[in-house]
């Protein structure tokens, strides 16, 4: 009885939530259906569903691979996000552990730098960093697309805070049992910081995946673009005044991200909530 009452009370709220949900999904639904429309229908149409269904926009993508190598862009993004995320997570955890537990020499100076860097916005280092990579001739390669993200201090900050709040008892017990440094790290610390490592991985992945300005500075050739940047060049290019074809490309670019997102939904939810500093 009680359950029923609460559900009934929730009906107006459910209706409201559903209306909002439809509004949220509308752009995505529109994107998918528009990608199946013919050129003239896609240019001006008030119905969501295509009157004439066509696959032309998708086959068109495969034939214009030399102009818009979407699959190469997806590959680049996969490589960059994967390698970048792994490096950041490993490097940041090691640094945070060393800072929180091992009393590394110069700890105060390092922590000071990390806090200072958190407060200074990225635009300040953007153009000089571009100039540096230009001077050493590394533009248009994977290196500038990956390495600058490793300087982010957010990760060290997160893991460091987590470790400070984490009790030392287990480590001390392991130490008394004669465990080596690596063993403590592997058997005690890593399992403990898994959630925060996951958080860091998700944040880093999203930051690299979403970045648009930096990749647009350091890449030139079509083959080195990320998918995010590739879509931008399609928007600005002269060969895509065709919204249907544009949406077909956007669908291909977006579906992998949405699928990964849905699969990892649980972890992402946890990790976002982890960043909420209380």
């Amino acid at each position: 009885m009680k359950m029923k009452r609460s559900t009934r009370k929730a009906i107006p709220l459910l209706i409201l939530a559903t209306i909002i949900a439809i509004l949220f999904l509308l752009p995505l639904i529109w994107m998918v259906f528009t990608s199946f429309k013919t050129l003239s229908e896609s240019m001006a149409s008030s119905s969501i569903l295509p009157q004439v269904w066509t696959l032309e926009n998708y086959t068109g993508i495969f034939t214009s691979v030399s102009e818009a190598p979407i699959f190469r862009w997806l590959f680049n993004t996969t490589v960059i996000t994967a390698v970048g995320t792994i490096i950041v997570v490993v490097v940041d955890i090691l640094a945070a552990y060393s800072l929180a537990r091992l009393n590394v020499p110069g700890k105060k100076v390092i922590l000071g730098m990390i806090f200072a860097a958190l407060a200074i916005p990225g635009i300040v280092t953007l153009f000089p960093a571009f100039y540096m990579f230009k001077e050493v001739g590394l533009l248009d390669s994977y290196i500038p697309l990956i390495m600058p993200y490793t300087a982010s201090t957010m990760g060290v900050f997160l893991v460091y805070n987590f470790l400070l709040a984490f009790p030392k008892d287990l480590e001390e017990a392991a130490y008394l049992d004669g465990a080596s440094q690596w063993q403590i790290l592997y058997h005690v610390i890593f399992p403990a910081i898994k959630p925060v490592a996951m958080t860091l991985a998700v944040i880093t992945f999203l930051a690299i995946y979403n970045d648009y300005l930096w990749p647009s500075l350091v890449t030139n050739s079509n083959e080195m673009k990320t998918i995010t940047l590739g879509i931008a060049t399609l928007i600005q290019g002269s060969n895509f005044v065709n919204p249907a074809k544009m949406m077909a490309s956007t669908v291909i670019a977006t579906i992998p991200a949405i699928v990964i997102f849905l699969l990892a939904n649980k972890h992402i939810v946890k990790s976002v909530t982890n960043t909420g500093i209380k």
């Binding site: 240019m43 001006a44 994977y142 002269s238």
Partner: protein
């Protein structure tokens, strides 16, 4: 512990492999390639549909050669890369040539052209006008891509030649449906072409002491014509945005919901998209006379020699490559890609097969009336405020007065002056 080191090893290995195989093709060093040929790096911005046609020419050259090899790099924003690297040959737009000359990044090309057997008389005068700075050939002209007129034969039987024709077309279309217009005037996108076209068609010279002098009463009057096209004569719907001239041309009118135009004054690079939609119903013709005289405006591609190229062997290779490119059988590929070459022997071939090279042929018909961009330092920056702000005001402000427009033109001129002053001292 083992797993961690394995992970680290994996990351490092993957990273090294990626670093190794990335980029590439960047080797502009003066040495010889692996095959012992002299390598010539050629950088251009042909990343659109035209890229494949230039590649065809280069590939054919490489196949015909055992002494030289041209390495062609096609990149968007190739200017940024050119400014920061060393290359042997570069494509520069006609309106940028003066900037690169003043920055000292390109050099006199006459001796290379002589070696290649290319003479000024091989080109249409419009092409020569764009590449000759201070009476010196700073580049070899490749093509001119002027403002082009597309028309939809379903609505327009004969290409309009004057503004009166456009008004007549508009009246007929409006009688049919309120959603049909003669043409669309965009508020941004190709507006630089519109603004310089109207200057040329009214015989106004915008250049003064190295900067663009927009603040001329006659120019304000001329620009007001675009305002009147939207608000007085209503030959264009109001409120068209970026690339509006082409987008409206591609739409299908829907009662009260979408406008469609019968004519588009637009860039020739949209030809592929328009042809795909309209097929044989697509007409292409020179732009009509809107101002007081007939004149065409647009931009052009030229091939220039970077200042750092001194090596005799390389210069000989470049001459060889240009000699190869500038033969009708090879350069016709460029016309096939939709560009109108200014090389006269190639033009003859285009004219002979004008159905096949529709867009190239029609655009070559505008060469005699072509007026190129004023040769000033940082042309694009000098005109930026006009492009991004003033033109949009002209076509979106219904109650715009010539006085208000003059104020804007004075501001634009002041900015152009400041940009001109950043030129390196000579």
């Amino acid at each position: 512990m083992k797993t961690i080191s394995k992970w680290l090893a994996l990351v490092v290995t993957v990273f090294l492999v990626l670093a190794g195989c990335s980029g590439g093709g960047d080797s502009a060093d003066s040495g010889k390639g692996e095959n012992g040929k002299v390598q010539i790096s050629f950088i251009n911005g042909f990343t659109g549909g035209d890229g494949a046609y230039m590649k065809k020419i280069t590939d054919a050259f490489n196949a015909s050669q055992d002494k030289y090899e041209v390495v062609e790099l096609q990149e968007k924003d190739h200017y940024t890369k050119f400014k920061s690297g060393e290359y042997d040959l570069v494509v520069i737009h006609g309106n940028n040539l003066e900037t690169y000359k003043q920055d000292g990044l390109i050099q006199d090309m006459s001796s290379v052209l002589e070696k290649a057997g290319i003479a000024e008389t091989d080109f249409h005068q419009a092409g020569i006008d764009t590449v000759k700075l201070d009476d010196t050939m700073y580049a070899v002209p490749l093509d001119i891509h002027p403002l082009t007129m597309f028309y939809n034969k379903e609505f327009v039987q004969e290409a309009p030649k004057t503004y009166e024709d456009l008004v007549k077309i508009n009246d007929e279309l409006q009688a049919q449906s309120k959603d049909l217009y003669a043409l669309g005037v965009p508020s941004s996108g190709l507006v630089e072409f519109y603004m310089l076209m109207i200057a040329a068609q009214n015989g106004i010279d915008l250049e003064k002491d190295g900067y663009l002098n927009f603040a001329q009463p006659e120019y304000a009057e001329a620009l007001m014509q675009f305002h009147d096209m939207v608000w007085k004569d209503k030959v264009s719907p109001a409120g068209l945005g970026l690339d509006g001239e082409f987008q409206t041309f591609m739409k299908e009118a829907q009662e009260g919901k979408a406008y469609q135009t019968a004519v588009a004054l637009t860039g020739p690079w949209f030809y592929g998209g328009a042809k795909e939609k309209y097929g044989d119903n697509l007409g292409v013709a020179p732009i009509p006379q809107i101002g007081s005289q007939l004149a065409a405006y647009g931009n052009s591609h030229t091939i220039a020699l970077p200042a750092n190229v001194k090596d005799e062997e390389k210069l000989a290779g470049i001459a060889e490559y240009l000699k190869f490119m500038y033969t009708p059988e090879n350069l016709i590929n460029w016309a096939d890609g939709g560009q109108a070459p200014v090389h006269l022997p190639t033009l003859e071939k285009v004219t002979a097969e004008q159905e096949k090279y529709q867009i190239a042929y029609q655009n070559s018909q505008q060469f005699d009336d072509y007026v190129s961009a004023p040769q000033v330092y940082q042309f694009g920056e000098q005109i930026r405020y006009m492009n991004e702000s003033v033109f949009s005001k002209v076509v979106t402000t219904e109650k715009l007065t010539t006085d208000a427009l003059m104020k804007e033109l004075e501001k634009a001129t002041e900015m152009a002056k400041q940009i001109a002053a950043t030129a390196p001292q000579q």
